[in-house]
Amino acid sequence: MNKVLYKTFSVVIWSLFTIITLFPIYWMILVSTRTPVQLYGKPNLYPTFLEKIHWKNYTRPFVDGVFGDYLMNSIIIATSNALLVTVLAIMATYALSRYKIAAAETIFFWTMTNRMAPPAAFMLPLFLLFTLVFKYGDSNLFDTKIGLILLYCVFNLPFAIWLLKGIFDGIPKDLDEAMIVDGANLFTIISKLIVPLAAPGIAVTALLSFLFAWNEYLLAATLTSVYARTIPTGLSEFVTTTGTEWGTMAAVAVVSMLPALIFLALVQKYIVSGLTFGAVKG
């Protein structure tokens, strides 16, 4: 009897939390499918999108407007960054895991502080460096995709290395040595032995790097203007001149949320270790 009561209680509590989690998101989706006139007056919670969707909220920013470009930029930047981070992290982690390096601990700690530092503290120096210092002739890093791709490495590399370190350490060194005896070079060892064995971990690393780059806002807002503008920064352009554009703003927010939803399905199990730097296994 007590157990049944406890179970019912848990279900009730968790249903409540589920509603709290989903309700704001549901409302955003509702707003994104309605015309301005439908949004006047009392808030209507009925799922009107079952009957009619005001697609203009989506087509106006993404087809007629610049958000199509922003979306493309986001995809390019996040994908390139994820690839770059994964490759570099595999190399670096292999070095840290297989060789005795005097400064290994220091490098470790240093990379971690990079991740923990508040981006707002780096906003100004990065802006000045990107515009005034890192330049060649007429061009500089400001408002370039490559600038952001490199920059996000600062935040993604440390965590990628942390995540992979545990996995690489778990692959017995004997296997490497056996391959060296067979005359394999370093590249072969990494690509034929390490990568296949650590494949799931590497995939998680890549996905989480992608997600971080996709979600990053502050530095993208500071360091881009038009050509490298990402979706989150575009979203913030609605902060003030909303007027009657709530629907469009909601539509942009929904689209920026989509990759997160897809990824959730893929990496849910690893989210905890990802967010805690592998300090806690999920």
């Binding site: 061009s139 400001f142 352009e237 003030t240 909303t242 007027g243």
Partner: protein, 473 residues
């Protein structure tokens, strides 16, 4: 001067012949730059939308030069334009220059001298552009020697809008008379504004209508509210130029008046209006105020002129079409006399221009574009769409006259009383100074500080900025 004479001569030809001749000229002039894409950034306002969606397309058809105008929010527009010009990255070929920021831009030498550039490249001078047709608003974009640095694309005044249907309702009239002892009418004094606001808030509540007595542009996290106070409310109470003296002092102790009696009266009145304003007022910038009025949620209020036309005419976005009344906003005693004598002003003459940053890589094509929008003949449709007028001749256009009818004489009001309004003072530290005042405006609006304390704090903060920046001695 010569080109102006030619322009005047040309303008005497018949309109159709002129248009054809113009098309030829634009084709020829644009030919060397065909295929160029010029990029601009501006605030997302009705005039900006018209420029990006109509004028830019026409211009591209004629010249083959593609104009990409990015219309974004006000903050983003500044952020992007300033960063681009500071970094010299050459992203933008033209930027929107709001009247109040132009001195900053000139001070920092961001902009190309348009007059000089055209003198240097006579082949780019469009003969049909008559710079003398520009209203005096263009003077804000000139330097000491009269050279133009920005091509005006919008100018309007901030007016008092009221709901004709509400003010004309029989029960409202009798109810008001009974309660206040004088007849209901649009406000000509602040006391009357207050009474109207209080009355309609009650009237709407009684009738179960979603409406309130007045709008308030009182965003507590956006500079729009500081601007509203400094540019509209303040001046109509006699607080001019932020209350800053010629030697850059704003506190009473230093001879300034930002925390003087007039300023305090203005802020007290304004914040007391929140009681009678719709709840979204604390999150309202200029665009939300316009939306509030268009949604029929306020009986009266200060609204930027750029929105007057669509509120009065666009049935898709506005539920008050046909019921919009336009008047000059009320002023405190004495202010009108000072304004007429040129010693003060009653409100904000707002607007902006497009200018070319030094970093632009397509200056020639952009010069053509700026001249294209400066033609007198493209002005009328633009005025109808965006309620903005930058040329004298626009007032006489039949289309504009028709819109004037619908918008209850807004254009006539602007034409006749425009001289009573003024742009922002020439402060190169404009943005920094305003940012120093912002938190105090927000605090006063949120009721966290009394108007008096807020202004005492604001003038201190502004003085500190002017001192830090080296303007004060």
């Amino acid at each position: 001067m010569k080109k102006l004479l030619i322009a005047l001569l040309v303008s005497t030809f018949s309109f159709s012949a002129m248009a054809d001749g113009h098309a030829e000229w634009w084709k020829k002039a644009g030919a060397p730059y065909a295929g160029t894409v010029i990029q601009g950034v501006a605030e997302n306002t009705p005039p900006g939308q018209f420029a990006g969606e109509v004028l830019a397309k026409d211009f591209e058809k004629l010249t083959g030069i593609k104009v990409q105008l990015e219309n974004t929010s006000w903050d983003q527009m500044y952020d992007k334009a300033i960063k681009d010009m500071e970094a010299n990255s050459g992203i933008y070929d033209f930027v929107y220059i709001e009247q109040d920021i132009v001195y900053s831009y000139l001070d920092r030498d961001f902009l190309v001298n348009i007059t000089q550039s055209l003198k240097d490249q006579p082949e780019l001078v469009a003969p049909m552009v008559n710079m003398d047709d520009f209203t005096t608003f263009i003077d804000y974009f000139k330097d000491g020697s009269g050279d133009v640095f920005g091509m005006p694309m919008e100018a309007f005044v901030k007016v008092y809008l009221y709901r004709k249907d509400l003010f004309g309702a029989a029960d409202a009239k009798s109810g008001f008379q009974k309660k206040y002892g004088y007849p209901l009418a649009p406000a000509t004094s602040f006391a009357q504004w207050r009474d109207n606001a209080e009355f309609f808030t009650g009237y709407c509540a009684e009738k179960g209508m979603e409406c309130w007595g007045t709008t308030v542009q009182g965003h507590t996290g956006h500079p729009a509210s500081t601007y509203e106070f400094l540019e509209s409310i303040g001046p109509s109470f006699g607080l001019y130029n932020w209350g800053v003296t010629d030697d850059f002092h704003s506190c009473v102790e230093g001879g300034g008046s930002l925390n003087g009696a007039r300023a305090k009266a203005a802020l007290t009145f304004w914040t007391s209006m929140l009681e009678f304003a719709p709840p979204e007022s604390l999150q309202s910038t200029w665009s939300e105020v316009a939306s509030t009025f268009a949604a029929g949620r306020a009986a009266q209020g200060w609204v930027y002129g750029e929105n007057a036309a669509w509120i009065a005419s666009n049935e898709e976005k506005s539920v008050v079409v046909g019921n919009v009344g336009v008047m000059q906003p009320p002023t405190a005693p004495g202010v009108m006399t000072q304004a007429a004598a040129g010693e003060g002003y009653i409100g904000y003459f707002d607007g902006g221009a497009y200018g070319i940053p030094h970093s632009s890589k397509n200056k020639e094509a952009t010069l053509l574009w700026l001249q294209y929008i400066a033609q007198s003949e493209v002005q009328a449709d633009w005025a109808v769409a965006g309620a903005r007028i930058t040329h004298y001749s626009t007032y006489d256009d039949p289309k504009v006259a028709a819109m004037d009818q619908i918008a209850d004489g807004y254009f006539t009001l602007m034409q006749n009383t425009g001289y009573l309004y003024a742009g922002a003072p020439m402060y190169p530290f404009h943005a920094a100074g305003r940012a120093a005042i912002d938190p105090f405006t927000y605090a006063a609006l949120a009721g966290e500080m009394s108007p008096s304390d807020a202004l005492d704090g604001a003038c201190e903060a502004l003085d500190k900025v002017m001192k830090d920046l080296g303007y004060q001695n």
